[in-house]
Symmetry: C2
Subunit: 226 residues, 2 copies
């Protein structure tokens, strides 16, 4: 589904070039459950942004379903990502003027899903993440963990083939976090949804089929999973 070949990313800050990612190679198949650990500032979010096509690599090539991202127009890139990839941002990125419910509905509106189907799918996923009671709250009226669960629900509601989740349980207590991991595992096992989960929560490593570590922008596969 996703492939990265020799992908590097550098940022040009005021005085120098910071190399955030160095020659990363990664191939993700349907049904994969990949966990990535690494210290703060090591390049995890940079890697996910490139895999999701929301940032451009400095060197190397990325493929989604065999299509090279560099050969696509911006519009084609956006459509491909919208239909195939679910992304849970580390900083949630909720639309402040939309309620929790409307934030989750939004990607289905872009896909022109009909109203009754939208309602069914949004109600279901919000229930699965335990947010029915606050579904009409605006992001400013939600707690940190509730916002994170809205971001998770929004990434899952479109039934993507692959989900890239950037520290999805960072703002959740152990019990609520376990519920989210179980939801991801269910989708992985019953619908073959591939997951790439960046996390500092070492309890999630137990569920990984593949375990990768990243340090100073260098990605290494370290473990064979369950």
């Amino acid at each position: 589904i996703i492939k990265a070949e020799g992908v590097s990313k550098s940022y040009l800050s005021q005085v120098e070039e910071i190399i955030a990612l160095k020659e990363a190679n990664l191939t993700i198949e349907a049904g994969d459950f990949v966990v990535i650990n690494g210290p703060s500032g090591s390049g995890k979010t940079t890697l996910l942004n490139l895999l999701a096509g929301i940032d451009k690599a400095t060197k190397g090539e990325l493929y989604i379903n065999g299509l090279a991202l560099s050969s696509l127009s911006d519009k084609e890139n956006t459509l491909l990502r919208r239909d195939k990839v679910g992304l849970v941002f580390q900083s949630f990125e909720l639309i402040p003027v939309l309620s929790a419910w409307e934030n989750v509905e939004y990607p289905l509106l872009l896909q022109k899903v009909n109203k009754s189907e939208r309602k069914k799918r949004v109600d279901k996923i919000l229930k699965q993440v335990g947010l029915e009671e606050v579904k009409d709250n605006l992001p400013s009226q939600l707690s940190g963990g509730q916002k994170q669960r809205v971001a998770i629900a929004r990434a899952l509601v479109t039934d993507p083939k692959v989900v890239l989740a950037d520290e999805p349980t960072a703002s959740l207590d152990t019990k609520t976090g376990k519920g989210i991991i179980k939801l991801m595992l269910d989708l992985n096992q019953t619908k073959e949804v591939a997951f790439i989960v960046v996390t500092h929560d070492l309890a999630i490593n137990d569920y990984a089929k593949r375990l990768l570590k990243i340090q100073d922008g260098v990605l290494k596969e370290v473990g064979i999973g369950v």
Copy 2:
């Protein structure tokens, strides 16, 4: 230093009144190290916002250094908080157009600390949280964990008597998180700085002198500490 007496907080959302905090009582002394656990949505951030004086209680009274917050003008409230209390927001709340260094300097500018003293203190705290290399980056050029450490540095740079920290290690890997906890413990033991730390990270509970749990807005003291 801080006292809450029968403090309740409710939010008026579209259809109903949500009671986020119910009759909370809490007294914090110099040198305390209090940890608060609780599920997502249970009222932890609400409690910290009230203790810090950045939100108003619906019922009950709050005291900082013996002064009732309700008897203070907004300006007096702000000055008291600025000089005595350090707050690490769950959502960081960095100023986007200021660099990491300038974000940490900002509270010292408000306190009219002279330039050379500001430079000395900002450089020192940024080094203690491991951010010297990215100190000139804007928040948009920092990783999640780096932003969190800027927020921590900013709360500590004014040498407050009490620090309220809302999930200060949520975006940090285990090793980086340990370094931050150690910094807090050092300040607690050498300078008698009181800490109230809201966290889902149960490893931090081991350092608590007092342990509180919050569930559906009800605060209970559960443990006597080390």
